[in-house]
């Protein structure tokens, strides 16, 4: 932490960046995203096991872009999300200073190529709890799974915390907010919720960096991250690729390759 903060302070003092995006102490034991905009505020930044949010959600926001160049204290999930955003051309090389933190090590990166190289060194994997939950869902029959999700999603109130906390949900106008045509009902009743989550899942298949932010964000505890995780894992299985791993976009659902497995066509 010392090293990151030291470097962040330096960058701010030299005027190379306008803010450092990291984590600060929040309510109770919670950590929260925090923008340090003066060298003196850098000491408020903390980095520990309670730091969870994927900070990449901020870097595409116009309010944040307006600040000027920002340095991001990026844990692995944030790194993957930034790389995916770069691959999707939402961010350019050099637009951010990425202070990539992995355990004790800190690396300063600023390009997609450098991020790709850095991330290639590390295995991406789901944590044990989510793995177990996915396996549980997998073991269910189609009907059981249907009932499970109907039941979970009945609590959804369309607060869109899951969408808005997701770094990959950066669209200026979300499909949910279109009314000509009204693709998905606005109301959070059975069909409105189901369609919303189906659309969200499909839009993230092959793009989900598996940070789990959506599930953490849900105030009513719906494990919505399992939906996008399942889609992402399925893409990985069928096409051998992962979101947030490559600097060049190779999006499975929009790319045809002659050696594609066509097992989904039945």
């Amino acid at each position: 932490m010392e090293a990151v903060n030291q470097r962040a302070k330096e960058l701010l003092e030299k005027g190379e960046i306008k803010a450092v995006l990291g984590y600060a102490k929040g309510t109770g034991h919670v950590r929260r995203p925090h923008f340090a905009r003066k060298a003196g505020q850098v000491d408020q930044l903390v980095l520990d096991a309670a730091c969870l949010q994927n900070l990449a959600v901020y870097v595409t926001k116009h309010e944040v872009k307006k600040l000027g160049k920002v340095a991001v204290i990026a844990l692995p999930a944030t790194q993957r999300a930034i790389l995916q955003l770069m691959a999707e051309r939402q961010l350019r090389d050099g637009e951010l200073v990425i202070l990539a933190v992995d355990g004790e090590a800190v690396k300063e990166l600023d390009s997609a190529a450098a991020l790709e190289e850095h991330l290639a060194l590390k295995a991406q994997g789901l944590d044990a709890k989510d793995k177990a939950l996915l396996a549980e869902l997998d073991a269910m029959s189609r009907e059981q799974r249907w009932v499970y999700w109907q039941n979970e999603l009945s609590r959804c109130m369309k607060c869109y915390a899951c969408r808005n906390s997701c770094p990959m949900c950066y669209c200026g106008t979300c499909t949910m907010d279109c009314n000509r045509p009204q693709w998905v009902p606005v109301a959070s009743h059975g069909i409105g919720n189901l369609e919303y989550h189906a659309v969200r899942t499909m839009h993230l298949a092959g793009r989900c960096v598996e940070c789990g932010e959506c599930g953490r964000a849900c105030p009513v505890g719906i494990p919505v991250h399992l939906l996008t995780f399942a889609a992402e894992e399925s893409i990985h299985e069928q096409f051998g690729q992962r979101a947030g791993a490559k600097a060049k976009l190779d999006y499975a659902l929009s790319t045809f390759k002659t050696d594609d497995k066509e097992s989904f066509i039945r």
Binding site: G26, T27, G28, V30, R31, R32, P33, H34, F35, Q53, V57, Y58, K61, H62, E63, V64, M157, K158, C159, Y160, A161, R163, N164, S165, D177, P185, V186, A187, S188, H189, G192, E213, R216, A217, P219, V220, G221
Partner: protein
């Protein structure tokens, strides 16, 4: 003036029985998969035994997340409109916190200040609230800064305060008295106990009247954009809030029939004020966050002579990025006008 009684733990069973016999549904906090949420119960044993608050507020019982306002059928050159009669089930809210009991007053202010909203009113008429004083609080709570308190009886028809062997029961309203009359033997004469000694200590965090006076003068302050920098513009805070009343009206129809639905909405959403032209009077999140604060702490007092916040802290607990309302209000109170 409230009449005070003693209600033993054991007598709750009979009270629940009497309420149900009277045809009332009982809604209370229950434990569900690690969360505390409001659900229908039959016996006191089903009620969560140790909880701070439910995640969602109790407003749902009078203002559901989706409800039909009207329906119609369409034929060429003809429309048949059908009014909707709200389904109002006689309901007793048991064990909600004083802050939430009080919050129904803030909803009522909007639903009835001028035009009267029959959907809300039909349900409120059928609703009785048995509140439960708080014996603990957390960092998000600030009821005492907004005129409430862990043992405040405002909004409760009966307020229970836990004590040795049972509860102190304050019967505050006619609706409360009607419940008492369903099982008068259960309510034993009891004199006042020192509620303050039993209930949670929530320190006053800021001077609300001073803040309300100050707000009109600091509308343009940087503080709102600064605070909102980490806000992700979702509706979690508004949807869990017991006083947030803003709604959307949506049409769902096929070529032959349709209905008009009222759905919860949030001033935090970009879409909330967006014109068809693309112009948005609240273009940035800072303006939307400011609206949330001003609606509750400036416009509500101006219009309805009350606050639009009860200090329950639900928004803070629900926020994915920990926007802590109490902290932000303390900061705003410190801004130089």
């Amino acid at each position: 003036m409230a009449n005070t009684y003693n209600l033993s733990h054991e007598s709750l069973n009979s009270l629940f029985g009497a309420l149900r016999k009277d045809g009332r549904r009982i809604m209370a906090p229950v434990e569900a998969g690690g969360r505390t949420e409001l659900a229908e119960v039959e016996t006191p044993a089903q009620v969560a035994s140790d909880y701070l608050q439910t995640i969602l507020s109790a407003k749902e019982v009078a203002f559901p997340k989706v409800e039909r306002l009207l329906s119609y059928t369409i034929a060429p050159g003809q429309v048949d409109l059908k009014d909707t009669e709200p389904k109002a089930v006689p309901t007793v809210l048991f064990g909600v916190r004083p802050c939430e009991a009080k919050a129904f007053g803030a909803l009522d202010a909007v639903f009835n200040w001028d035009y009267r909203d029959k959907f809300f009113n039909a349900r409120i008429e059928q609703l009785a609230v048995i509140g439960l004083s708080c014996t603990k609080a957390d960092e998000a709570c600030f009821c005492t800064s907004v005129g409430g308190g862990p043992a405040d009886a405002t909004g409760s028809d009966i307020l229970l305060t836990p004590k040795e062997g049972g509860y102190l029961a304050e019967v505050c309203t006619e609706k409360g008295a009607a419940i008492l009359n369903l099982a008068p033997d259960l309510f034993k004469p009891g004199n006042g106990v020192d509620k303050a000694a039993i209930t949670a200590k929530v320190e006053q965090a800021f001077d609300q009247p001073a803040l309300t006076t100050k707000l009109p003068g600091i509308f343009e302050s940087e503080v709102w954009t600064d605070q909102a920098l980490r806000c992700i513009g979702c509706g979690a805070c508004a949807f869990v809030c017991p006083t947030c009343v803003c709604f959307d009206i949506q049409e769902e129809a096929d070529p032959k029939k349709g209905e008009r639905l009222r759905c919860w909405d949030s001033c935090g959403f970009h879409l909330f004020t967006l014109h068809a032209s693309g112009h948005n009077p609240r273009e940035v999140q800072g303006a939307r966050w400011r609206q949330r604060v001003y609606h509750k702490f400036s416009y509500y007092p101006e219009r309805y002579d009350m606050l639009g916040c009860v200090g329950c802290g639900k928004c803070t607990r629900a926020c994915p990025v920990d926007m802590n309302l109490k902290e932000h209000l303390i900061e705003a109170a410190g801004v130089k006008a």
